[in-house]
Symmetry: none
């Protein structure tokens, strides 16, 4: 009976194979701090789409994204949300990502079940797939809903960490991040993308830094190739993954084995100092251009450690790239962008180069 299974220990840092609703029903009540869910979008695709050069778009045509009707999709959604709600701690929170095909149904279901929406967050893709037919706007964003378990319930929000990640100004509800491709994109044996909708690590990085703490339990009921687990592991959170496709699980397991946790000081997050500059240093970290724990070096060879929220630490000294630089030089101020370098292939490279890359991407 459920009672027995519910008493079972929480299977931390494992991937459970099966239907997420059923599996969540077997987990102990009020045991999870954060849920990140990337459910099927119900894209309702028909026929095939070709580019102007007649090549075929490799679209999402997997069985798991097919539903007979909005009603069928609603039934599915309400079932997994109810199961998710039961295992969520009273002060836990849920994030769900979707597109216009499904997100309105998900949002209404969340509200109907008593979740309390805290923000909707727009992921603005810096490099979306264009609209090949020229019949609509380029679909350049996806929407995440962040909700607490109940109206008035407490929830985790690391305001200052996100502010630091955003170089000293409040984090907004729209996040500009590139889609997942290149080396970060998991490949199958044939060298093809292993999953059609793999999310970028930078997105999960921001969610987990902002809405969870080290040691928290983060559950992902649609684990796919395990981005949530990978970022949770790096950030020192425990994860629980649920996925019904064994092929995806195999890819995720191999991926998680490769992932290393960032060290402890890198994970500590500022309590709230800031500076003025305009392009967030934290983005270099979120995007994986610099790893938390990596050392930066100044002109005199002094080293500073990069932390997950985009701040630096040297001995007891913590702060932004500018603050730490100024303190080391005993100067009233310092432009951290030109002050710090990182090391690649034995060469010192100014971090400003990375900022220029981001600026180029953003146009």
């Amino acid at each position: 009976m459920t009672k027995t299974r519910a008493a079972a220990r929480l299977p931390l840092n494992e991937i459970l194979c099966g239907d997420c609703t059923e599996i969540m029903e077997g987990l102990p009540e009020a045991s999870v701090d954060l849920i990140f869910a990337d459910p099927p979008y119900n894209l309702q695709l028909k026929g095939d789409l070709r580019r102007p050069d007649n090549s075929r778009v490799d679209a999402v045509d997997d069985a798991w994204d097919r539903f007979a009707s909005f009603e069928a999709y609603d039934t599915f959604t309400r079932a997994w949300l109810a199961a998710a709600r039961r295992i969520l701690k009273p002060e836990g929170a849920i994030w769900v990502i979707g597109s216009y095909h499904n997100i309105f149904r998900v949002g209404a279901a969340l509200q109907d079940q008593g979740f309390w929406i805290l923000n909707d967050v727009v992921w603005r893709k810096s490099n979306p797939m264009p609209n090949f037919r020229g019949k609509r706007l380029t679909n350049a964003h996806e929407t995440m809903i962040w909700a607490g378990r109940d109206q008035g319930a407490k929830y985790t929000f690391n305001y200052d960490a996100l502010k630091a990640l955003n170089d000293g100004v409040q984090m907004r509800s729209d996040w500009v991040l590139p889609i997942c491709n290149g080396h970060e994109r998991e490949k199958d044996a044939a060298g093809e993308k292993a999953h059609p909708t793999q999310k970028p690590q930078s997105l999960l990085h921001r969610v987990l830094v902002g809405a969870s703490n080290p040691g928290d339990v983060v559950l992902d009921p649609f684990f796919g190739t395990g981005t949530t687990g990978a970022v949770a592991k790096m950030l020192g959170r425990d994860f629980i993954g649920i996925e019904r496709d064994q092929g995806y699980i195999d890819v995720a397991r191999a991926r998680l084995d490769r992932v290393r946790k960032f060290d402890r000081t890198a994970l500590e997050v500022t309590a709230g100092k800031r500076t003025e500059p305009r392009v967030p240093f934290g983005q270099l970290v979120e995007r994986g251009m610099l790893r938390p724990g990596e050392m930066l070096v100044n002109g005199r060879g002094q080293q500073a450690k990069v932390r997950a929220d985009g701040t630096l630490v040297v001995d007891g000294l913590k702060g932004s790239i500018h603050q730490v630089g100024a303190a080391l030089d005993g100067a009233p101020s310092c432009n951290g962008w030109t002050y710090w370098s990182f090391v690649r292939d034995g060469q010192r490279v100014p971090i400003d180069l990375l900022r220029q890359q981001i600026r180029a991407e953003l146009g």
Copy 2:
């Protein structure tokens, strides 16, 4: 009776005072090209919000934004959407703007009533109000839903005009625009903002340029201080405004009197090739620009013979310029106009050049 009122003429460029559902029920069926709606957001604000300096934030606390529950809000939403759908032409479209408080309920209701979502569009505010309490992300965007009346229905989309607006690249689904303030913000007699949620004209400009044509009828059931009407008038569209607050209507009337329509050349908009007159390939033969028996050549050097009726033949293969091109490439389709060239003075010249000559003659 409704029947009588429904037969009434369309009240163009007027503001009707009253409940929008009732008034729309009295308008003729299938008579409106575009609906832009900015319904109450159901913000559910409690208490008051103060800035760090203890000044009070002038929030939306008007009676029109209070609903007892999500159910009450849904009932309201489904009623006005049904009335809106009846007066929409089969090839018309609707835009609805909202925030996370209401947009998920609006989106689900749209889908449930048979509207077909074409895009969701994020208005990314370049200057949003900060989050004073530091308890959530800065609420820096609102969401618009663009939907056709039915799945598969035609709709107006001025692809090339929006592309031109966007510096020559496809318009994306996220629009960065400042909020409405300064001189554009309508003031009441006391010099205070006349309406708490006045939308910027830039937003409506983009919607109307992209999703309507000059002479179209644009209806706004929550007219407020008349931004939709003002931009419609400037752009040479007819508007119908519905508003139940006489105070807002007075402000809107005065505003509309001040607005001047742009002149004709300013209103002309980059048109796509689609809207150019269709020229049958056979006309090139009829006019003697190509001779029957002459050979066309594709990119791979394969040749096809032009016949007197404007069809091509290669070996046993006969058909239109498009069909033969597709068959030779083993492709599902082909644009024969760009696929085939003829030879003049040893040079390959695309046949599309001849079509352009004919179009130029047609004006």
